[in-house]
Subunit: 233 residues, 2 copies
DNA sequence: TGACAACAATGTTATAAAGCACAAATTTAG
DNA sequence: CTAAATTTGTGCTTTATAACATTGTTGTCA
């Protein structure tokens, strides 16, 4: 975890999506009290069981949020992109972290001390409401994921994951390639299956001309079909 | 959905757990603007896809919150007891309900109109923060459930469900019988398995002297063992 | 350049859990 | 109080998926 000043990065004012509900004083307070941290690919940002010390904002890069389950199988819960917050749920609930966060690719994180974050939450109602909305949305996502992962069959789960990646990270200029390159293992951990099954099922999708593959590059060929597969389990 | 005045019921002041953070004005406002609704056993209180109109507080009885999944298999997400809130997540996230809520047994619900609820959230920071905490806790529960249900084996999932019921509803005077009587089907929907498997696995637990059964009455005999089963999957 | 490590692909086998069929018991309704 | 409906309990069969084993591919670095 390197800690150094940066230059080419978007300033916190542009990253922190709730900036506009802060008062000038709060804004200055944040500006004076955040730190910048850099993480290498695969470096862990925080870990299940630790006490939360900061709320974090992903300034650049991509990270995965996941839980360790039975026998070192891990389940990816969320994947974040620039501008998204994390690490604050545990602060609010007054618990230790219940997830691990690891950088997928080189990433930069802005951190705001927990007590400062809480203090703004406690004094600025619009700020507080903004996070209330965020958690309300995340909760619905989480419940939906539970049902997807438990009830859908392997093809449905993988199709779901591909659609989620597309929705979250978008497509490249060709209008087909998903803008994130995952290992088969991560793809498996996202869709609750073994790596072998992720590989197998991806190959099947290629044979059926639903997607195309080139290494980690995944192209969605027939989104309609993919959506159908995801629905029917 | 009957709507009538009540007498023997705890008043909203005692049920609404966030009452103490309300200002006298807000308190009066709520007192003047809530309604009371009675539901029979198995009656639906709200339904996936509907627009939320009220935040609700369970004044008496027990209800289940569940999602319909693939092929009419339903997954129970939460089970509520007296004093707990529901139906407000969708209001905050500005979405339709993503769950169904049904009364397990005859239940009474206090309802506060969505706009009134929002207006208090927007003006009373402590009230807003209180719900922020609630959602933060629920989110952790939901994520934990995802991993439990996807990664644990059938015995582990059922053991988990029994422990959850005990934690949530407590035990009767005998110090063993769980204070809620569920059908095998509901038990299955809670632990992501078929009814047959719930029955089978319960019988196994009885044979192993981990629990005892008498119809829907479930006694926990060896909680230590149950906890071990739940851990190991 | 060759050796090694990480990743990808695929066939085989073992097993957990779902599906199904049906009987018995219990609850609900007419 | 009986008939119907629902819930519960079991055995058998089938299926989905994990576990394992093997082999191929790519990239890295000494």
């Amino acid at each position: 975890m390197a800690k150094k000043p940066v230059s080419e990065l978007k300033p916190i004012e542009e990253i922190l999506s709730v900036w506009d509900v802060l008062t000038p004083d709060e804004r200055q307070f944040v500006r004076n009290n955040y730190t910048v941290h850099h993480y290498k690919k695969n470096e862990m940002i925080h870990c299940e069981g630790e006490l939360p010390t900061h709320m974090m904002i992903l300034a650049s890069g991509k990270v995965k949020v996941y839980k360790e389950g039975v026998g070192s199988r891990s389940q990816i819960i969320r994947m974040l992109k620039q501008g998204e917050h994390f690490g604050y749920r545990a602060i609010i609930a007054n618990e230790t972290y219940n997830t691990n966060v690891t950088a997928f690719e080189a990433s930069t994180v802005y951190m705001i001390k927990a007590d400062i974050f809480i203090s703004i939450l406690r004094h600025n109602n619009a700020f507080c409401y903004r996070f209330l909305e965020e958690l309300a949305t995340d909760l619905a996502d989480s419940d939906a994921r539970t049902v997807n992962l438990t009830q859908k069959h392997i093809r449905g789960r993988l199709a779901e994951a591909l659609l989620l990646l597309k929705k979250n990270y978008g497509l490249e200029e060709d209008g087909a390639t998903i803008c994130i390159y995952l290992s088969r293992e991560d793809l498996a951990n996202l869709s609750n299956m073994t790596t072998s099954n992720a590989i197998r099922t991806l190959s099947n999708f290629v044979n059926e001309h639903v997607i195309a593959m080139d290494g980690r590059k995944l192209k969605i060929i027939d989104e309609e079909r993919l959506r159908k597969i995801s629905k029917m389990g």
